[in-house]
Amino acid sequence: MKSTARSFKENARQALKNQRLQKSLKVMGRGFVEKRAKARAALPEFDALCQQGQAIKTHTLEHLDLYLEVYEKQLAASGGHLHLAQTAQQACQQILQICRNSNARLVTKGKSMVAEEIGLNEHLEEAGLRVVETDLGEYIIQLRKEPPSHIVAPAVHVGADQVEADFRRVHQNLPPNRNLSDPAALVFEARNMLRHEFINADIGITGANFLVAQTGTSVIVTNEGNGDLTQSLAPVHIVIASIDKLVPTLNDASTLIRVLARSATGQSITTYTTFSTGPRRPQDLDGPQQYHVVLLDNGRTEQLAGDFSDALRCIRCGACMNHCPVYQSIGGHAYGWVYPGPIGAVLNPSFLGLEETADLPNASTLCGRCEEVCPMGIKLPDLMRKWREKHHAAGGPPAMVRTSLTAWAFVAKRPWLYQLLTGMMMPLLAKFAGRKHHFRWLPLASGWTTSRDLPAPSGKTFMSLLKKHQREGRL
């Protein structure tokens, strides 16, 4: 996926003007927040579970080499194949090679953010394969040739009427007068279209929510069952997952699953939670003949050793973006790359570099709601601030911003000068504002005054008044 993070400001401006998007965001905003709050309230041990989950992730990341070794051994023992990929490019090539080895033409895909991260669909399609997304949201945005706007609900920005129009445009062989006016009819139609693809698929690709070292198992959580059909009907199942998905044991995976669904959609557990271990065994009724795992690093080992290692605990629940007032205002596409919202503001600079993504960690009020709801206790505002420090240290911010900041700091470090200047300026501003007590416009303050009045100072500063009172013996 090509990044548009560099034009974040313009993206955001367009998003704010997009009435349809604003309507979707309004509906989405309240839904996710309320559902999570209910799920949390219904489980007294929720916070304790989150802490257990954090400890599991921290422990695994600290001993990643050990658990990778165990996982590799168990995966091999169950008949699966492991492919280690350092980069996105390598992962794509390895997956293409597996496809070629089985002369594949049709690939079905479960929802995977890592696949988005490495640009898998484009890579396979360029090589002549047909790739069909089978998660309903992903299916919709694939028809629309759009990237996901949310990591859990990829088509959250699309209205039902738009989906109807897309289905009529693409599903040309169906009767034009069919009724698609309610969401159930849309789901039914997508289901029928996808049935054929599942049955005819040569390869099924899924992501993984967890990889279990103890058993060499990959785990996916879904609500549509498309993941199960993708991975058990095709003769070859490929799992594409990043190294941070590892957990030591099945028990650990269970703990995290209890936290994940509640944080993401407010469910106690998703409709399907599927554990895959190796290819089909002789006594199994179904399952793939081959089971491959492409394990992606893509900078994560480096991240693990750096300032942003905490972000590797992320289990991709989306709670941070669901609760983020900036995400709620502009949606996911404005962030310009795979991971939107607060977690994207922390992850994307690692993947794309700060020059491309500098706006993302800056475009936050640091209100702290993301940190508050993050089940993995990732201090997202602190990490965004850390990116700002790196950006500043690298001379990133515009000269105007840097100069103003330096001038302000120079004065603020000298109280006598500060009080001399402010003591003269504030009464003047108050006088200019007059009895209205605000400015509708002020030079250099247009960022504020375009949409808000700027409150005027009362008059003299507190420090001037205090000294005056002191002189007069009133204090």
């Binding site: 475009a363 702290g368 601030r385 700002r388 950006h391 603020a412 109280p415 504020w448 009045d453 507190f462």
Partner: protein
Amino acid sequence: MTENTNSDKAPQVGLFVTCLVDLFRPVVGFAAMKLLQEAGCHVSVPLAQTCCGQPAYNSGDRRAAQALAIEVIKNFDRFDYVVAPSGSCAGMLKTHYPDLLKETDHAEQALLFADKVFELTSFLVDICRLQTVDRDFPGRITYHDACAGLRELHVRQQPRQLLHSMRGLELCEMPDGEACCGFGGTFCIKYPDISDAMVGKKCANITAANAPTLLGGDLGCLMNMAGKLSRDGSPVEVRHVAEILAGMADEPPIAGESRPDRGKQK
């Protein structure tokens, strides 16, 4: 420095005025002094104070922020308590200075310093054990929980408890009260469109609370909301909570002209 003594045994409180109160709304500083003195504190205001350093810290200029933080600690270290009429600035001193100064010679000092820093209303309730405020405020108010106070310092119930105890005051909660108002310091200047969308939603929720007065504990957020309400022609008056608690709501509200029919305290 100026001092005001209640008694020799009174806790020594250094008032961190905050730059916005100093520059824009001194009455909040004087209201804070009055409330602290009434609660039995000996209040001092070190004159060599400017800003907590947040604009630099949140813009990534760690070194400038460190220099200011060291000055603040130097000026305030001798008090039993340091109190600010702002959750955001108190949060900076209390929760961020230890991180900011961890690689400097002041690391340990910052940790000790953090322990004695408080936001005004939480200090009055949690430390001074103030239960009630013996004053009138006739009318309905709604309250905005500013983010840093709410999430860094857990200030939520304290201002409400004090306001509830005032005669005639009726507290009307707004929908989605814990959502950010879109101020965010330099955020509102750097990303004005997004900030405007956020404060627009906030003002709709304020209006839905159906109260003629909006109170809060952070002047930055209050100026943002007052500016938007003023531009939209809303009749809602905006004030810092300390003004009401101290019975000092005689000044015109933030960004607006005083209306004789409301906000008068006895």
